[in-house]
């Protein structure tokens, strides 16, 4: 295997860009939320400022090894997910491992970080963390059902489990999965709301109720690393959904537009909705989204 410097550079730069985009989106979201609520809100760069401040903090406390490693788990999963995603179609620079970007692998590696985070949060001994984890995991069982249904339907449609091939199938506007497979996409997008964790599905992190839930005992470098991880992960999730449902992106601008629109979708849904209780959200996903997903599966199976 020839060693390609461009590739190595890609490995390093991709996460950096991802985190930059992620932080920007997070900043934007705060601004947009404020505007919707008729506030002025912080500047867009506020997220950057926050994370820089956290990184530069001199002291940090932990409650044991698992908490120490929790953020590392998280960032590992975020970056690995990103590296296996085809960020931009046919780009060598962003290719990384994406030629092996298997969907099922991605589904699983994405959990890796959440598990590590949950373990770290568990060790802090803060009841709010544990409650948050409990709610988060429960919700996951809820939205995973329509989510996987959508993905399976698409995999069957594309006759591939590889993301690059799935993107290849969606060549041209009309072949996007949203149009090819509207039902599956609908189910997938409803599940996507759960994935993003905005209202009405933000009960695991409810800031007012649980003091942000899992991360409530983290501070300093730990919180900084977690935020970085979260920014990368947010971007990775957006890219994944864009790749699967919206035909990927052939250049960076297209990618930004698509991901941002997708991001706005989650944000706006959240802004106009109150918060579901855990079992309500689970039951929500197990009803209509699951039914739609099942219908999509049936259709795809019927088409052969």
């Amino acid at each position: 295997m020839s060693f390609d410097w461009i590739k190595l550079l890609g490995f390093i730069v991709t996460p950096l860009i991802a985190s930059a985009v992620g932080f920007t989106y997070m900043g934007l979201s705060r601004k947009i939320t404020a505007r919707v609520q008729n506030r002025i809100g912080p500047g867009i760069s506020q997220s950057f400022i926050d994370v820089v401040k956290l990184y530069s903090k001199k002291t940090a406390i932990n409650h044991g090894l698992m908490q120490h490693m929790g953020p590392v788990f998280a960032i590992t999963a975020s970056i690995t997910t990103l590296l296996f995603l085809p960020v931009i179609k046919d780009s060598i620079f962003f290719a990384n491992f994406s030629f092996r970007g298997d969907l099922i692998f991605l589904i699983y590696i994405m959990v890796f970080g959440q598990l590590g985070m949950a373990l770290g949060a568990g060790q802090t001994g803060n009841p709010n963390s544990a409650i948050g984890v409990s709610r988060g995991l429960s919700q996951m069982v809820g939205f995973k059902v329509p989510y996987v249904m959508a993905l399976v339907a698409i995999m069957i449609h594309a006759k591939s489990t590889n993301l690059q091939e799935i993107i290849a199938v969606q060549d041209g506007f009309r072949n996007w999965m949203v149009f090819q497979m509207p039902l599956a996409s609908l189910a997938g997008l409803l599940a996507y709301l759960g994935y993003m964790g905005y209202a009405p599905f933000d009960v695991p992190f409810a800031p007012a109720e649980l003091a942000s839930g899992p991360p409530s005992e983290f501070g300093g470098k730990y919180l900084a690393l977690m935020m970085t991880s979260r920014s990368i992960f947010t971007f990775a999730k957006l890219v994944l959904f864009v790749d699967v449902f919206f035909g990927g992106a052939s250049n960076f601008i297209e990618l930004l537009i698509k991901t941002f629109l997708l991001y706005l979708f989650a944000l706006f849904v959240g802004l106009v909705n109150p918060r579901f209780r855990t079992e309500q959200s689970i039951q929500f996903w197990w009803k209509w989204p699951t039914a739609i997903g099942a219908l999509a599966l049936l259709l795809v199976a019927w088409k052969g």
Partner: protein, 619 residues
Amino acid sequence: MEQLLNIPAILAIAFAGSILVFVTHLVLPRLRTAVVLLLTLVPAYLVWQLPVDSPMVYFSLGGFDLSWGTNPYSRLFSLLIAGIGVLSTIYSLAFMKNKARLGFFYLAFLATIAAMYGIVFSQDLLSLFFFWEIMTWSSFLLVIYYRFENQQAGIRYFVFSAVGAYALLTAIVYLYSFTGDLSLAATFRVIPQLSTTQLSWITVLFLLGFGVKSALMPMHVWAPDAYRSAPSPFTALFSGVLSKMGVFGMGLVLFKFMGGLEPGHIIREVLAWMGGITALLGTFYAVFQTDAKKLLAYSSIAQLGYIIVGLAIGTPMSVMAAIFLALMHGIFKSMLFMGVGSVFHQTGSLDLNELTGLIRRMPLSFVTVLMGIITVAGVPPLGGFVGKWLLYESLITSNHYFLVIVLFTSSTAAFLYLYRLIFSIFLGQEEREFDHIKEVSWVMWVPMLILAGMTLVTGILPGIFFGPIAEAMQYLGFPQIDWQMSVLFNPWGNQVDMLSVITSIATVFLLGLAFITWKNFRTTRYVTTKDIHTSGEMPTENENLTYAIDFYRPFERAAAPIFKYKVTRMYASFAENAEHLFDLLRHVYTGNAQTYALYVVIFLVILIVFSGWIFGIQI
């Protein structure tokens, strides 16, 4: 000649060993440990050096021609037995130290291992059944080892095993009535000549028999309590290996016997769905357990569901996935039971509501359980992922869309119980009462860590299992299967390269760890788990805020409709009604001498009046 003697030698040593240990315990208790170790290691070594295709050993017993031998398929399972057998025996040496009735314990323990060797080496149905039953009762003896615990568990286990074994026996004798020969080879020859109906019956009976041992729903009700009641070293073996004997048999039946059942046959589909439902419901039940071993027991049931799905689908990839998962399950479930057993050994409790914050007291057990749950969850880069990936891909590529959803839901829900397991035991606030707890002795943690290492190795280089599995599958009648050391690929040509996965994960993880440790190394403080803020207050010393009771109540509420019907209750009411019926029936024995005399006369009259009809006319 040497080779000829090998299998009989293994079985003889193994069985004689169990008795020898019993005697040693009575005569020279000091030597017991040495004898136990010797008598597990020697057969295990002999199994290890058995050739893949050792010549068959023929002999005759009770008027039947029997034979023993090895083939790639049985070798695979014999190595699993040997490996987990040795490790759990070593583990048991420390776990069972100073316990009562050790002679009895090791008698049954070694007999179980020996019987399992017997099962996989059997090349005829009679020896198979013979060893199967020995395995049943020796494991039954271990289930009831703690005498004061609920004996219901033991009897339920035994009754279900008996029903399963008798289904097996029915199938065997039914087959025998066609073949007149019990050897597997003859059976395979005759099977194509049977009619579809006959074949289906035999298959169903066999599957019923093997399904009970592998706790396939709805025949699973014995499993949680039996796993729970057995001593932990044995539970490791029980769930890790013994349940695989059911899988072993199913593989044999589905591919060797029933070659006529093409993929997609109704029996296969039904079995696959039963496996899927087992996986789903087993997981859901596991979520609500408050007893660590019971939780793992339900988890075992669910995992076996996956394996059965893979076997039932019957495409090369799914079978490979199933056997891979079977081996993995042997490794990770015995490891988890050992880890939880260690906790029980040190604290005397398995109650998830009671245990808390043991991570700093028992770090090695924690690592074991951590690796275990990552493997069970199927998260890369450990071995569990490989099996899950293969299984999902095989299901998707063979058009089992809804089954894959079921399995996926199940494995997502698995995170719930896995997190709860590790959180409740090891994480959360530390308690004063557990301050004196120490890590278990090296005798116990070494086997645990060896298994943990195995999960990592199989994750990076799954090929070390693929090789033997591919050979075994060739024995089962599949064509030559391509495999690579660390790349997984599906029939559509998509692949996952475990090496790049591990490279990425390891690099990022190490860098991140280095960063977070190095940065502010001096000013980073460790604080106790009491040093937290909740609503701005710090909990006092004797306050425990760990959120452990009713951990998943919201989920329970959401999933409530699923648990409305309890199959256990159904069986219980069936048994109760049957007993009432029996009770009613025995009232024919009225105790009145005259009634009995009347019976005699009535019987005589009936015989005479209906003699023509009863005996036929042709006297």
